[in-house]
């Protein structure tokens, strides 16, 4: 499978500040989550991919187009939803989407028809005829999303699409992203700080820190724990039950949810030992499932490691 984005040694300097520091990255079809703390270089990376900023050095291709030379071709095939509010005062919601369609090259009448169709898809009702300055944050997010997909791009870059949305709208937007990916075979780069969003829709995760790619792996691989570990829900966290497990050389951790995370040497012997200890301690097992890594802990560990390396580099320099 060909990567959609392939970047080699990408560097972007803003005067004395290095925003992107030798990025090597391949993004495959599917939904990719782009994570990173503030100032990690996410926005610079997105602008570089869109051809909006001139890169200092490096090469790459985006959807088969050359990174620095084919900016317009790249932007023709990409739908970009920026984090910031961007609208033209005086226009209504449908006019903004229609304008975006016209800028992308849709014929006038067909662009208007398509704008209405996409606003229906985004669950935007009669409020589409109101001036956009009067919109709530959620409505503006919907209009931005509609403007990003109105020209049917192959690849979507969504920058903080769920920020400012209530839980219901957030769920609906993530569902729309899923529909685009599964039914319309779109690929998505989702830049966000909201880790549960990544956990719920993404296939791949890229973590950026200090202008470098620190992690680029499929989410399934990240979720899988190397040592056999299970998460067990019991009717009461019994101390005798935990002590029995620990005496059998099993590692036990009590989670915030009250469940126990138990790690052993092999999955078969681990479940056997668990059932036996529960029977002896007279504890009722309510749930038993293989444990997964927490994306939050992976993110925190990766960023901490990156910061430590950066500090060491400064000290050495």
């Amino acid at each position: 499978m060909q990567p959609l984005i392939s970047l080699r040694s990408l560097v972007k300097n803003y005067r004395n500040h290095r925003a992107l520091d030798g990025i090597d990255l391949e993004i495959m079809p599917g939904i990719t989550g782009l994570l990173g703390p503030n100032g990690a270089g996410k926005s610079s990376l997105i602008k570089a991919v869109l051809g909006l900023v001139r890169i200092t050095s490096g090469t790459g291709t985006v959807l088969g187009h050359r990174l620095t030379l084919d900016g317009k071709k790249i932007r023709n095939d990409i739908g970009y939803m920026p984090e910031d509010d961007c609208y033209i005062p005086g226009m209504s919601g449908v006019e903004v989407v229609h304008f975006a369609a016209s800028l992308s090259g849709l014929p006038n009448i067909e662009g208007l028809r398509r704008s209405h169709e996409i606003l229906d898809f985004c669950d935007m009702k009669q409020e589409r005829y109101r001036a956009i300055e009067t919109y709530s944050t959620g409505m503006r997010q919907k209009v931005k999303f509609a403007a990003a997909i109105v020209h049917d791009p192959k690849f979507l870059i969504l920058d903080e699409p769920t920020s400012g949305l209530d839980p219901e709208e957030r769920e609906a937007l993530l569902q729309r992203i899923g529909v685009l990916c599964e039914d319309a075979r779109k690929s998505v780069l989702l830049s966000t700080h909201i880790l549960p969003d990544v956990q719920s829709v993404c296939d791949q995760v890229v973590i950026l820190s200090n202008g470098q790619v620190r992690l680029n792996k499929p989410l399934t691989e990240l979720n899988t724990i190397q040592a056999p570990t299970v998460e067990i829900g019991v009717d009461r966290p019994d101390r005798d039950f935990i002590r029995r497990l620990e005496t059998q050389s099993l590692q036990v951790a009590v989670l915030k949810s009250g469940h126990l995370k138990v790690t052993g040497t092999s999955l078969e012997s681990l479940t056997e030992q668990l059932w036996q200890a529960a029977a002896v301690s007279k504890v009722m097992v309510l749930s038993l499932k293989p444990a997964m890594n927490s994306l939050e802990s992976i993110f925190m560990d990766t960023v901490a490691e990156s910061n430590k390396a950066a500090r060491e580099a400064v000290d050495a320099g």
Binding site: V53, P82, Y87, I88, A147
Partner: protein
């Protein structure tokens, strides 16, 4: 769920070429600008002078055809007085060769009513020495130039001031840059799109009425052969529009690109336009007073070299100088300084705009 909800459907049709996408920016900007009641009133007011100039075309057309009974009685009296004052040979010529002398009648009218304007004096002299078709061409050009120069030249100040200053500043404030530049739109297309918004309105109040006046003038003529002697007038109108549009819109857009607040851009535009002209007028008045002349002073004082060079301070004056050349009432050697100033203003303005519209992408 609405009954027409189709879910997400892919788009299979062909996209239009990138060469025309700048027009999307222009057309949306035009439709936004025309929502303003102020702009609508200005457009209405800007068409009123056409009636006055239409009357001018009518009377001059009739005078050239020798139908002096169409002229108001006061004008007929002026013509009679002027002819009576002429030297004997010239007077006889007018009375004997009725048709050929009509241009002399028009020249007489012009000299009687526009004594203070040297350009009109030169026009009248030209009419006296030329033939009828040249006379028609010269008169039409003069009418067009005065239409561009006086009512519409001032109307542009207000029209550009109402439309252009918000065009880029509004995009900076609302971060609409991302909406444009995340599409296959470059800086040149963006600038072209923005440029044609005020340019279209200027054309609506200058080019369109001027062309309408030209058509009116042709229809008022005895036959369509007048087109052969006046074919260059529409071209001069188009070139005159370019001279008017390019520097004014460039400067106004430059001010717009320098601030997020369109009112500051509007203020800067009016200040730039009026202060430069006021400075020049101050020089003219001071010269007139020093020479002990009465106010209103003779317009030919503006033709003096030590006064004329200060005219470069005024955008309005420079545009007038170049339009004088475009309509054939001065030579390039008279207008080159004004032309150079206009080119410089335009180049600097465009360079500033390019820099300013790149900067939001740098952060």
């Amino acid at each position: 769920m609405p009954v027409n909800h189709l879910g997400y459907r892919p788009w299979k049709e062909k996209l239009t070429g990138s060469l025309t996408r700048w027009w999307c920016i222009s057309s949306s900007g035009i439709s936004l600008a025309q929502k303003s009641a102020l702009v609508k009133r200005m457009l209405f007011a800007a068409w009123l002078p056409v009636l006055y100039w239409g009357v001018g075309f009518f009377f001059i057309g009739q005078a050239l055809e020798g139908k002096s009974e169409f002229l108001p009685a006061t004008l007929q009296e002026d013509v009679r007085q002027y002819i009576d004052q002429m030297p004997g040979k010239k007077r006889e010529k007018i009375r004997e060769a009725e048709k050929g002398a009509n241009r002399l009648v028009v020249a007489a009218l012009l000299k009687q009513h526009f004594k203070r304007i040297p350009q009109v004096g030169r026009l009248a002299d030209g009419l006296e020495s030329g033939d009828e078709s040249t006379a028609r061409n010269r008169i039409w050009c003069w009418l067009m130039m005065s239409f561009f120069r006086y009512p519409q030249g001032l109307m542009i100040l207000f029209l550009v001031g109402a439309i252009a200053p918000s065009l880029i500043s509004r995009d900076i404030r609302s971060r609409a840059f991302l909406l444009y530049f995340s599409r296959p739109i470059g800086k040149t297309e963006y600038l072209l799109g923005k440029f044609f918004i005020p340019a279209t309105f200027i054309a609506l109040v200058t080019t369109l009425p001027a062309i309408a006046l030209y058509v009116f003038g042709v229809l008022m003529s005895p036959d369509l052969t007048v087109i052969l002697s006046t074919w260059d007038v529409p071209l001069r109108i188009l070139l005159g529009t370019v001279v008017l549009v390019v520097p004014t819109v460039s400067v106004a857009l430059m001010f717009s690109s320098l601030t997020q607040e369109s009112r500051f851009a509007s203020f800067s535009w009016f200040a730039f336009f009026t202060l430069g002209h006021a400075a020049w007028l101050a020089v003219v008045f001071s010269h007139a007073l020093r020479q002990g002349g009465a106010i209103p002073f003779k317009v030919d004082i503006m033709e003096k070299a030590e006064v004329k060079r200060w005219g470069l301070l005024s955008l309005y004056n420079n545009i007038g100088e170049v339009q004088g050349w475009v309509f054939g009432f001065s030579t390039l050697s008279d207008a080159w300084a004004g032309l150079l100033v206009l080119v410089l203003i335009t180049v600097v303005s465009l360079a500033v705009i390019y820099r300013q519209i790149s900067s939001p992408m740098r952060v």
